[in-house]
């Protein structure tokens, strides 16, 4: 019986994820004939059989997908030729379209079972992986994604591994990093003198950690530094050695049960922690407590679960979580080579847990948090990148865009039709090693995706290093350079993920709050109410503009912003108005007098509507963080933490909207009330709460004013929206008022998502 035939084309994350063997097993089980093969970036399936079996095949194909596969589109057409004798996995067709890269994935349950099974040949083997898990992006040198293109090339598979690799019925069929204790990478402990010891490594490292030592661990995408999270002395020592006085550390726990000893974990949070991405998840502290030195004054801890067999095998030896921070010095990127680690981390650690599988691409840990409506990505890296973000239909024929991103938290983006590949978080480009890394990663992606951009999109800031590099690349590649305004990019990054919103054909509103971005009028923006779509935008309102005396220094020293705000509100005699509610010492210094002159004369005092600097100013007024932030966002985080307990019972400061050329959210009433509260000795946390709530009121009424009270779609984006009080408070309020809220789900709302917005904006602007 010839039966009927179907030709099924499947696109999405379908290659290098075990989809073909899965199809083969499924087809064989259902007695179907035909073939499956990689065709360009798609998988092409031809199946012949009875109608019922074909139907069953189609539904099981979508239901039982291998864990790392993601199907974005399926197209089916009838096939009339005679069926072949059986079902085969055919050789790949070398299409012109690139196959792309799959993110690294945490150890799957089957592999996990094997490494803890004394009877299994991979018992205790730290480099166990299969088609459903293991390293991908981090070991990839070039395309196509097969073993010789990865850092596994130097390991010859033994006979048994090769058999697994070649057997379509095996979980390790074409698992490129497949390895076992006989043929794969090896692990050792290395002391500071360079002595290596490969015996009982995990027990030894565990013993070291328990006795308070600091150990460098070669993780999946880079070196990490670990110490006992229960040992505050060790943590203090680590902070001192790493020159990282206050920035919170992330923790790794053995399993969910151990996480639950210290944190509240909802079902969704558990799902995130235990997924193949295995990110750091920010969780509310609850239960037993760990030393305050881990995350000073923060109500939450960043927790992750083991993401490789190596981490699993180490963590089972420990009863307490470990601090696990990136293995780097100062602002340098995480070390990835054994040599770099011994050279530069030697002064930080007491020993190294190392191995001989090379890390090709640095991939940091991803950071997520869960909110009522879903996950919020704070840092998009291991496990998430470079999984493509699916764009709305209208992008099917868009020009190819390479978007360069921002300056801090840099990541770039390749837009190709409906797929936007946002790179892993790379970091702050002021750091030379990071900037080199960024350039290297960008060239690698161009190669991996065989990507030749029509357009290179850059930020409008005249001095972002990414903009300068974009200009060079545009020359080199003969692409057109398109500048995208910073906050327009933040708006578009969110719209890019929203098919529904873009179909409305009506520009969305956007409340974009961040540190700063270059504005169209040559001033510095950062507290904006916009309306726009991919093609264009309008600025409708903003926070009152305030000088940033000292330019970039104002982003680091909160007191400068406090003085600027007070002077801006109360004029040149602002010191008299002050009447001693905030630190007199601070403002009686020569430095402070100089700051006044700088603002008066306009010496390096660019005016800015920055929301970030407003938070800094308020944090300084409350003595939470005055002189200097030891890391970006410290002042704002402390302000949020102080406010949190008081938010439910407080009401916001009254706000003042003024319709000038644009709507302006005035700051004077806020500061008057705040100073009055200080005089009345109101608790700082209460003041912080009133400030947050006042800002929410201001933004809500500001939006109402500019929109003429006809609610539509509104985007909330920009780094300041990592603040949960603001984000959730404003969301609830706007939803009650009938607005449809749009947030980033896959890209970070901070500058880590900027490139996505630049890419879609540039694509549409030029397509017109």
């Amino acid at each position: 019986m010839p039966g009927i035939g179907h030709s099924i084309r499947v696109s999405g994350l379908v290659q290098g994820v075990g989809l073909r063997p899965f199809v083969w097993r499924l087809a064989s089980r259902l007695g179907l004939k035909g073939s499956v093969l990689n065709d360009g970036s798609d998988v092409l399936i031809e199946v012949f059989g009875s109608e019922a079996n074909l139907k069953q095949f189609s539904s099981l194909l979508l239901e039982d997908l291998p864990p790392l596969a993601r199907i974005d589109a399926v197209s089916v057409s009838a096939k009339t030729c005679n069926p072949p004798a059986g079902f085969t996995i055919a050789a790949s067709v070398d299409g012109s379209a690139p196959t792309g890269v799959v993110p690294d994935a945490a150890t799957c349950p089957q592999c996990l079972k094997e490494i803890f099974d004394p009877a299994n040949r991979r018992f205790g083997y730290p480099f166990t992986n299969c088609t459903h898990c293991g390293p991908r992006l981090s070991i990839l040198r070039q395309i196509p994604y097969d073993r010789p293109s990865t850092s596994m090339a130097v390991f010859d598979m033994c006979r048994r591994c090769r058999t697994e690799y070649e057997d379509p019925d095996d979980r390790r069929f074409h698992a490129q990093p497949n390895a076992c204790p006989d043929c794969g990478p090896r692990l050792w402990f290395e002391d500071l003198k360079g002595n290596r010891d490969g015996q009982d490594v995990f027990a030894k490292v565990a013993r070291r950690l328990k006795q308070g030592d600091i150990v460098a661990i070669k993780g999946l995408g880079g070196f990490q530094i670990a110490c006992d999270a229960g040992n505050s002395e060790a943590i203090k020592r680590l902070r001192l050695r790493k020159n990282r006085p206050r920035k919170p550390f992330a923790l790794m726990a053995r399993d969910i049960a151990q996480v639950r000893q210290y944190c509240r974990v909802s079902e969704s949070e558990e799902y995130m922690l235990a997924g193949p991405e295995a990110p750091i998840v920010l969780l509310e502290k609850e239960g037993a407590s760990l030393p305050n030195e881990i995350a000073f004054e923060q109500p939450r801890l960043g927790m992750m679960l083991p993401n490789t067999p190596l981490h699993h095998l180490l963590m089972t030896q420990l009863d307490v979580p470990i601090v696990l921070t990136s293995g780097n010095l100062s602002n340098n990127p995480q070390e990835i080579s054994n040599h770099g680690a011994t050279q530069r981390l030697g002064a930080l650690v007491d020993g190294f847990l190392m191995h001989d599988r090379e890390i090709v691409n640095r991939v940091d840990d991803s950071v997520l948090q869960w909110e009522k409506r879903g996950p919020v990505v704070i840092r998009r890296a291991r496990g998430l990148a470079p999984s493509p973000i699916r764009l709305p239909d209208s992008f099917a024929n868009a020009p190819k865009v390479l978007a360069m991103g921002g300056e801090l938290k840099a990541a770039f983006c390749l837009l190709n039709g409906r797929n936007a590949v946002l790179s892993q978080h790379i970091g702050d480009l002021e750091n030379a090693a990071t900037f080199k890394d960024y350039r290297k990663a960008l060239r690698l992606y161009l190669e991996l995706y065989q990507f030749k951009p029509d357009i290179i999109a850059v930020d409008q800031h005249p001095q972002y290093r990414s903009t300068e590099f974009g200009r060079e690349l545009a020359d080199e590649l003969g692409a057109e350079l398109v500048k995208v305004q910073h906050h327009h990019a933040h708006l578009c990054a969110v719209l890019a993920e929203c098919q529904a919103a873009t179909e409305q054909c009506r520009p969305a509103y956007g409340i974009i709050l961040d540190g700063l971005g270059w504005g169209l009028d040559g001033t510095v923006w950062g507290g904006e109410i916009l309306q726009g779509d991919f093609a264009s935008f309008q600025r409708l309102g903003h926070l009152q503009a305030v000088p940033m005396p000292g330019g970039a220094s104002a982003s680091v020293e909160p007191w400068r912003n406090l003085q600027a705000h007070l002077r801006n509100c109360f004029g040149v005699s602002w010191r008299e108005v002050l009447a001693d509610p905030v630190s007199v010492d601070l403002f009686s210094s020569r430095r402070s007098a100089l700051l006044d002159t700088m603002m008066e004369k306009g010496v390096n005092a660019p005016v800015s509507t920055s929301a970030g600097r407003l938070f800094d100013a308020v944090a300084a007024a409350l003595d939470l963080c005055v002189d200097r932030q030891s890391f970006e966002g410290e002042a704002a985080m402390l302000l949020e933490a102080a406010a949190a307990p008081y938010v439910p019972d407080e009401a916001g400061y009254k706000v003042f909207l003024e319709q000038k050329a644009l709507l302006e959210i005035g700051m004077k009433p806020l500061w008057e009330q705040l100073l009055q509260d200080k005089r009345n000795l109101v608790a700082d946390g209460r003041i912080a709460a009133r400030f947050h709530l006042g800002l929410i009121d201001a933004l809500e009424s500001g939006l109402a004013a500019v929109s003429g009270s006809t609610p539509g779609h509104v985007v909330l984006s920009g780094g300041v929206f990592q603040n949960r009080i603001l984000r959730e408070g404003l969301r609830d309020r706007l939803e009650q008022a009938g607005w449809t809220l749009l947030f980033s789900k896959q890209a970070p709302c901070n500058d880590g998502g900027l490139a996505l917005g630049q890419a879609v904006a540039a694509a549409v602007t030029r397509a017109h």
């Binding site: 750091n431 080199k436 350039r439 001095q463 540190g515 270059w518 000292g550 220094s553 020569r590 004369k601």
Partner: protein, 329 residues
Amino acid sequence: MTHGGGGKATSDLIETLFYKHLSNPVLDQGHDAAVFDAPPGRLVMSTDAHVISPLFFPGGDIGSLSVHGTLNDIAMAGAKPLSLTASFILEEGFPLADLERIVISMAEAAQAAGVPVVSGDTKVVEKGKGDGVFITTTGIGVVSEAVEISPRAAVPGQAVLVSGPIGNHGVAILSKRENLEFETEIVSDSAALHTMVTDMVKAVPGIAVLRDPTRGGLATALNEIAHASAVGIELFEEDLPVDPDVEAACEILGLDPLYVANEGKLICICNAGDAETLLGIMHAHPSGRQAAVIGTVIGDPDHMVVMQTAFGGSRVVDWLSGEQLPRIC
């Protein structure tokens, strides 16, 4: 100028003033063109327009600056300056007393440098069409056959030297112009460097690069060299000389001394083996007492200037167009 719309009276006054203070045998010939014997060897010529506000500042004025600026440009070719010309554009109504002060200062600077001003010119523009006074100076000098100094000559492995603390001039100008009162008054480093350069070149004719890091500061000059020579440059923050006063002023102003102008400093790039010799020579000169090795030339396809910071970090010292703008989001 009290003498209003140009005319004979003004020009007489000015002529008198210039001849009086700048007098030397060649100038005194009174020709429109200076005539003098050509020295043997290769000639070096440079011209520089000087526009500055304020005209008078701690450590100098536009007069001395216009002499130093051109002398230094000549010296940065490893040459010995021989003579200068000067052209003045005066705004109508500019006080004669100020002009005289400037000319005297210029004369003193030329005298101290041992380089005469041999020809000059003056034009007066309508009020509002100038900014007090602009001075363009041109210099001519001679350089030995053995010297091949060029911004394209840096090669990996060479040492990068700077002749002293950076940023003084820019901060001095800014604080005078904007009335910023610091702990102590910051003085411009404006100075002529050619005698020091003569000694340096004599001891080490193979110096690769000399450059005065004026506008745009050390960062800009080093980036220009890195691009011209197709190399990278690595600096060490700890070795960078900066006066504590200047550092404190830059800190509060939010400026990076690397980008602040100098008028009496030079960058020297030479073979590593010659660095000590050159340091010794520089230390013997008033303008080079705090000379230091601040970095090395490295191979780098990206031609980046990178600063290794005190805590083991590394910072891209990039090429800025215009003033430093805040970038942190």
